[in-house]
Chain length 426, copies 2
């Protein structure tokens, strides 16, 4: 993509300078545009990052055997009455449809997925099953804020699993944890994201959150020193729970936990038969008896994850994207002005495209080198090359990584070598 064609442009000052880091940088760099509090458009660069994140999520969910579907946002009141949640979910957007019918905009899909999937389940042979969707969700947040971190409209991956018994649910739940950790690793926040014990409701003692540690986080968690495990605020005062979670726990040990700020980037729950009971869904076991179907649910918001990555990895110059989710694999900065040199630079751009490398090409004329470099820093693509009269004379390009202060003039062949090992691999 040529920057001269891209309809967005970078901005020096954010219109909302009091906003969070992710909102400021993503807005200034032309990734997102705020329509109202908690409601954003994704612009070309932003949509590409979102798509890359959603592709990673999709690959990891497919890998653990879940099947992708797409459920509607509009949901009739009847299914929410069935589970008793019509008046209990306080962020539920409610509206009237034709015929004065009560409708909700789905903030979650247990009420839709449970009758849908169980309608195809008759016997133990049809279990386990897991389905997921990546879909736009709605929450009537009283205080939408923090850019992509707390939105009224947002992208969500929600997965639901159905099992004949708790052992099967436990096994799938552990596979999902591994899949989630792969996602965070591939998105560049693996080391900073902790599996966090949270309270579990009526069916299960614990649920789990995935919390990414950052001074900009809104949540407080307590890390077990030397581990990637944490405990959230709900259960820090529960010594019984602590004894179960912390190896070799003794009374008072909670004072040795590290208190950290973090952003929640995923949460998973064992639901038991709460929803299958509400929809009278059962299966026939091998002896012919009717049995309860138990469920798990697994949430992970791609747009919130994008905001978290922006929030955590950005530096004072702008955004910093891991190669796999950057909007483009390479940022090509042209500093040439002579027609013959521009043609040479165009050939490099076309040659990279022919190698299957997605390039953002800053082909703009009449801009100073400093302005172009500042834009490249703000946009945050991992690898940058510069083409100038000097590099053309040297028969190469100047390569620089976003996070390094060093640069080197290298040949195109060498560049392909540098880019190859960081191409997308599962």
């Amino acid at each position: 993509m040529r920057l001269s064609n891209l309809f967005t442009r970078t901005a020096k000052e954010s219109a909302q300078s009091d906003a969070s880091r992710n909102a400021r940088f993503l807005t200034r760099a032309g990734y997102i545009d705020q329509l109202m509090a908690g409601v954003y458009s994704f612009l070309p660069l932003g949509l590409r990052v979102l798509n890359h994140i959603e592709t990673i999520i999709r690959e990891e969910m497919d890998r653990i055997g879940a099947q992708e579907i797409l459920m509607p946002a509009l949901q009739p009141r009847e299914i929410w009455d069935r589970t008793g949640r019509w008046d209990k979910v306080d962020v539920l957007f409610k509206l009237k449809g034709a015929g004065d019918r009560d409708l909700a905009l789905g903030p979650t899909h247990e009420e839709v997925v449970t009758p849908l999937v169980t309608s195809f389940i008759r016997s133990y042979r049809d279990l386990p099953r897991a389905v997921y969707q990546i879909q736009t969700k709605f929450r009537d947040e009283p205080r939408a804020k923090s850019g992509l971190l707390r939105c009224r409209e947002f992208r969500m991956k929600d997965m639901y699993s159905f099992h004949a018994d708790e052992a099967s649910l436990d096994e799938f739940y552990e596979k999902t944890i591994a899949g989630y950790l792969n996602i965070y690793r591939r998105c560049g926040i693996g080391a900073g994201t902790l599996l966090t014990y949270a309270s579990g409701g009526t069916f299960s003692k614990y649920s789990h959150e995935f919390q990414t540690v950052t001074p900009y986080g809104e949540d407080v968690i307590y890390r077990i020193p030397g581990s990637n495990i944490a405990i959230n605020k709900e259960i820090i005062g529960d010594s019984g729970a602590l004894a179960e979670i912390i190896p070799g726990y003794r009374a008072g040990d909670e004072s040795r936990l590290e208190e950290l700020k973090a952003i929640e980037v995923g949460n998973i729950f064992k639901l038991g038969s709460r929803f299958t009971d509400a929809f009278s869904a059962q299966y026939t076991d091998s002896a012919g008896a009717q049995k309860k179907i138990v469920m798990g649910c697994y949430g992970l918001g791609p747009s919130r994850l994008m905001g978290t990555i922006a929030e955590c990895l950005a530096d004072e110059k702008g955004l910093v994207w891991p190669a796999e989710i950057a909007p483009y694999r390479l940022h090509l900065v042209s500093l040439v002005r002579d027609l013959a040199e521009i043609e040479q630079c165009d050939r490099i751009y076309n040659g990279l495209a022919a190698q299957g490398i997605d390039v953002l090409y800053d082909d703009r004329q009449g801009r100073q080198a400093g302005e172009k470099f500042a834009d490249a820093d703000l946009i945050g693509i991992a690898d940058r090359i510069v083409v100038s009269r000097k590099t053309l004379a040297a028969g190469g390009v100047e390569w620089k990584a976003r996070l390094s202060n060093q640069s080197a003039v290298i040949t195109l062949e060498k560049l392909y070598e540098i880019l190859r090992p960081i191409e997308r691999v599962v």
Copy 2:
């Protein structure tokens, strides 16, 4: 994908036997599931078809130079007041957000896209621009019906173009017509889809619809004999318009037009400065003068297109998908029961996957051949192969096209040859 793992199953009888052809077949084959009138879930097979259609649309819109974005469904009342449409769009879903704020669910996005894109347009150098999104839209249809053809929640590709003058708009409008015709051709309904003149509103004499001819259509159009051009009901009585559209028109010629039933699968409009005026958006021309920005808008609904393809191409046995949009490229029916033979069949399945061919593998045991063939016909994948003791002994597979009554035992190498030429090409 192994059919034994797929969580959906085919059904003999539709729950809604009075529904339209597309709804009946898509529901019976496990592609979609109705949550309420005009609101559907897309199940694994259906989501794959929808994704393939959206990929084709994306490729064709990218090719004409439009940039993809994603705008929100939630829209504040203020922007609709600005264009005077808050009380004029009768299918607008309205709701209240936090702080008693009036919100709408977007049935279209002129109110969002106009200020968004024009905020980046300063001078003639920033024009023309075109953006599109593929997004979930909402219409409070009083009579949602006909399966995917008239929904309350549906997928929509909406594109908006911005121009310095009408000549630029006209040029882009013609390119879009060509892109749309490519889409319909690639989706298997090219020959039956007519460019149809419709009334044009205040800015332009005509707008255009794309109408797919079928006896199941709800619209009536009038085809100019021997052409792929038609006229819709709005302007059939306008002899001035007819004189412009029909070559060599003489009074009374309208009686020679063919009256046909059809489904609208796209519509495009020249908007002039209706929306840019409302948002006070202008550009500076090369002489430094402020000028009006003129716009075009271009709609095409992927889910409605999916319903139309199902409606038009299905036969009495079930769905018929063109190879490029079928949920899988190949349907592999196993009729073997012996363990060693099952292993041989699994090897064929794995070999096809290794060739990059997406296969739906009917590996179910304990089903009759007739039941498996009926399911394959209902699901409607273009190419089918059957593996049986007989074909294994002959060292090959039995290949059959969905629409042909003939079949032949061929080698796997021959099969790869058959599949190759119909792989996705732009």
